[in-house]
Symmetry: C2
Subunit: 285 residues, 2 copies
């Protein structure tokens, strides 16, 4: 039985959203709906237009007999901006301040709606680039890596500070913790990353940048290259301006922590400027 256009549009939209970055042939859809390829082409044109108009993403269509379509998730500038400022206000709540100037983030990094936004925003930054794997360090970075992996449709790999028996043989590197200036060790399972991969580094929080630097060394050990570095929040509070990493993106910036008065101030990081060329108050200051 042939399928009506309305049904096709709904099912195709669902398919694309659940299979980002995957090239689907016209033939696949033509068979699935027992419809002519010309009808499928028209459907794709409609979906493409709506996806752009609504900021859902880009539908790349490859014409010809061997052609098909690929969905690249995106996010509209105003949606990104609204989300970042909402998060800044949320993180600025004094109840989030923990002893030692740390910030309580576990509820946000365990909230699927927040993670959907974070994943889409970070994936948006790298939408035109080749990303073979997303790397993070256990345990706080994992939810962020997984969300980005969802929207880039690439696997994520987890570097660990403690060796796990269920990982098999590992490669380990030493790194200098930016905050404590101590030598630490991190490990990655040998079979979790292929040589020659293009790797995106993500993490929840960057202070001195030591952990990120360790991941850069790890990527070199696997003869792979760094595509970019993006963190949920950065802070330079208490770091005396020493920063081991210079080229990175942050969604949020913890710019003031006062443990005496129990106040914390968080503003936008450099994401909006780097991705949308938008000047934020941090630059205007």
């Amino acid at each position: 039985m042939k399928v009506r256009r309305s049904d096709r549009l709904i099912d195709m939209t669902s398919y694309f959203l659940q299979n980002p970055h995957k090239l689907v042939s016209l033939t696949y859809f033509a068979k699935r709906y027992e419809s002519a390829k010309s009808s499928i082409s028209e459907d794709l044109a409609i979906i493409k237009r709506t996806f752009v108009n609504r900021g859902i993403g880009v539908l790349e269509t490859i014409p010809g007999a061997a052609g098909g379509a690929r969905f690249i998730p995106s996010v509209a500038e105003d949606e990104a901006e609204t989300f970042i400022w909402e998060m800044a206000a949320e993180l600025s709540q004094e109840s989030r301040l923990l002893p030692g100037g740390y910030v309580y983030l576990s509820d946000l990094l365990g909230n699927p709606e927040v993670l959907r936004h974070v994943g889409r925003l970070i994936a948006r930054e790298y939408m035109g680039r080749q990303v073979d794997a997303i790397m993070t360090v256990a345990t706080k970075g994992v939810p962020i890596a997984q969300s980005v992996a969802y929207y880039l449709n690439a696997p994520f790999v987890i570097v660990r500070r403690d060796s796990k028996i269920t990982e098999g043989s590992t490669v380990s590197v030493n790194y200098v913790s930016g905050s404590s200036q101590r030598i630490e060790k991190m490990e990655l399972s040998k079979r979790s990353l292929q040589r020659g991969s293009h790797v995106l580094i993500v993490d929840d929080f960057m202070k001195g940048g030591g952990t990120v630097n360790g991941m850069k060394s790890m990527i070199k050990e696997f003869d792979s290259e760094v595509v970019g570095i993006t963190v949920f929040a950065e802070t330079s509070v208490g770091e005396n301006g020493r920063r081991l990493v210079d080229d990175y993106t942050s969604l949020l910036n913890v710019d003031n922590v006062n443990e005496l008065n129990q106040t914390i101030h968080v503003s936008s990081g450099n994401y909006l400027e780097k991705v949308f060329g938008k000047r934020t108050d941090r630059q205007i200051q």
Copy 2:
């Protein structure tokens, strides 16, 4: 400008898929598309039919002026079965066998396509139940908890074996490790779970059931109740039949490990039987 039906169907489908379990009012869509509520009602009827026909999920519609719609993701029985048997074949590869009879799973639990399936399958089991939070233990269970959280649209909370300074005050419980019979300790941040919650426990691997048992004690400490327990894989190999947990669901069952010959055999767990009432070869044996 009024929006055409085709555009509305595409955008509404995208909205539902990105906001599972969220009640959306007719008014929201009517304003968004500057369309009459009667047109929106017709759209919802079309989407509802396609979602059911394609096994995408259930669109609950609440009639009346205060009505709306809510999308409950699901999975068709044949899709669930195909996925589980593909995973069983994948896990049965001898290259996955690690020293001590452990199984290498990190690549699968870092693969977004696998995680989308796992998340949908587990969410399917609890689709009619109230789930306020999904609980797991760091670190291997986290990707599973996050995937399930995505489809149930509920937060996930991570119990840790080591205390993290960035968690604030915690509640800790002792538990007996099923495999080693040692007393261990696990902790959960006080503010990460509200009293009186309905909690779903998930994990990657269950041997003796000690870890799951620890989480049950933890849930009791928070005056909350267990909705269910589902694990990606279970094994009773080397456990002499001792099992500290009886009512649980498993997607996969590691039923034979031979370290001498370096062979491993994995079959379907009890998921298909519990969720779809399907007898699997495990029951037929």
